[in-house]
């Protein structure tokens, strides 16, 4: 009897959770549906959630006509890939140095790099903006990514991982005449590939979704990222809700699909998250 009641309670709990999940996702659902509405449907009272027809793709055509979305996509893609790659390579090299070399100042350097995690990047944006504009990097991909090249948390996670690999492995490789770089690339990196993949995806998603910094360092319309371009859709024509939502859908759906496909990796990164505290 109690077993039955317990099962019923659990089912109720599950259904409640599902309901809450749908509630949390409602804004996304509403946004995607709104992208298929006509201006008349928006003006109608009472407001609806579902559009009359999902075959009305005019808003999407208008988004692509109003703004060079393809170009924005390309910009975001290049910027996010380049930044995440550089960030990862630098973190791998630094983590390697901390684990396999013993040089004076090694500990001080480690803590100095970790110390950067205490500085919220947002407080540094104006000062960084001055540096980047002095370097003449406004409106360049490098300018958009350069402030994120040093990733202390990535370095830290990689260091923790490298520490677990047996020292004898490197010594054996060295005896066989393998250099450090070659050892790193062909022996150590493959053993760390799930972690490398996770870190890359995590930083790709962060870069792809970044807003304030790409906004600051781009002036020319053709250098805008999707996120910045999306918010500029509204200034063109203030009250085009359906076009705004179509733009939001176009920007958000690929990232969500990408994320859903690779969630296994991301949740592994989550599990590593608390380590940082």
């Amino acid at each position: 009897m109690t077993k039955k009641r317990r099962a019923a309670a659990l089912t109720a709990l599950d259904l409640l959770a599902l309901l809450m999940a749908l509630l949390v996702l409602f804004p996304v659902f509403y946004g995607v549906c709104g992208a298929f509405k006509t201006p008349e449907e928006f003006a109608a009272w009472p407001p609806t959630v579902l559009p009359n027809s999902f075959r009305n793709t005019e808003n999407f055509t208008r988004v692509f006509a109003q703004a060079p979305m393809g170009r924005y996509y390309w910009n975001s893609f290049v910027m996010a890939t380049m930044t995440s790659a550089v960030r990862l390579v630098l973190a791998v090299l630094a983590a390697y140095a901390f684990v396999f070399f013993d040089f004076p100042g090694h500990r001080t350097c480690f803590f100095l790099l970790l110390g950067t995690m205490m500085m919220p990047p947002d407080t540094l944006t104006i000062a960084n903006y001055q540096t980047v504009s002095r370097m003449g990097l406004i409106d360049t991909y490098v300018g958009m990514g350069i402030v994120s090249f040093a990733g202390a948390s990535q370095m830290f996670m990689l260091r923790q991982h490298f520490l677990t690999s047996p020292k004898a492995l490197r010594e054996a490789a060295m005896l066989d005449g393998c250099g450090d770089l070659r050892f790193l690339v062909s022996i150590l990196a493959p053993t760390a590939s799930p972690l490398l993949m996770t870190l890359f995806l995590q930083s790709f998603l962060t870069q792809w979704n970044a807003y304030l910094w790409p906004l600051l360092v781009t002036n020319r319309p053709e250098m805008r990222t999707v996120q910045v371009g999306l918010t500029m859709l509204t200034t063109v024509d203030g009250t085009n809700y359906e076009v705004m939502l179509a733009g939001a859908a176009v920007v958000m759906l690929p990232a969500m699909l990408f994320y859903a496909a690779l969630r296994r990796f991301v949740s592994r990164a989550m599990e590593n998250g608390p380590l940082l505290s």
Partner: protein, 299 residues
Amino acid sequence: MQMQAAKRRDRVRRPGERVSKGWLFLLPMAVFAFLFQYWPFLQTAVQSFCTVNFRGDITGFAGLENFRYLFSRREFSAALRNTLVLTAVNVPVTLALTLLLAWMTAGRRRLSPLTETLFALPMAVSMASVAMIFRVLLNPTVGYVNYCLGLNVGWLTDRHWAMPAILIMTVWMGIAFNYLLFLSAFRAVPKELTDSASLEGAGPLRLLFSVQLPLISPTILYVVCTNTVQAMMTNGPVLILTQGGPARSTMTLIYLMYTSGYGSSNYSLAACVSLISFGLTLLFTLLIFTTERGKVHYQ
């Protein structure tokens, strides 16, 4: 024998080379960490005590004059108050909400994979898209929120409602990430512990407060810290939706820094604001760590 010989050879040949090689591997990251993290920090600290022209060149020493000027401005007191309110509401609400959601779904049951994925999906949605959607949702005439709640408020245009609107949005954006953290923390609690507690007659609530929460306290500490930092840095939704208005009701510190530095090229003022928000954030983080000391249980 051979190994030892090799090691000796290693020691004789290596030292100088190893030192320089270690530096070589470290250097690229160190350069960027210095240039874009330590250097801007120093620059900010120096500029806040100096007069700086619109190109960012230091033209003289100002002492505390910039701070005095800043403190006399109403934008600043509004920004400070709003940021503190945002943090004070956002952090506990997000914490309670995501803990509850994770607790409800922690058991692996039939519907779990579905609910988990649904809760986690908003993580992939960018702040800019969320802002666009909320702009429509919260619209006073065509928006769905007013319709559902039977209200008629200008969420983003009324100075009493703009801040709650920003809060709703920032809480929403934090759900997915924190939920996933708590979910994996709940699942990492050893099953023997919860099982034996249940056998001894502990109900679900007793189990939560006496077994699960103490065991996941490191994650709670982590979430409280990262959320505090994030809430103190709130600026994106403000920048896109309200521009600090109406009547400064959504002005936040980082948004003030952005408008005074980037908008008006008043770099010394921007530097003061950023130094203050950095100091406050650091202070809060340290406070959290000292008050939690002893209460957080590490396995």
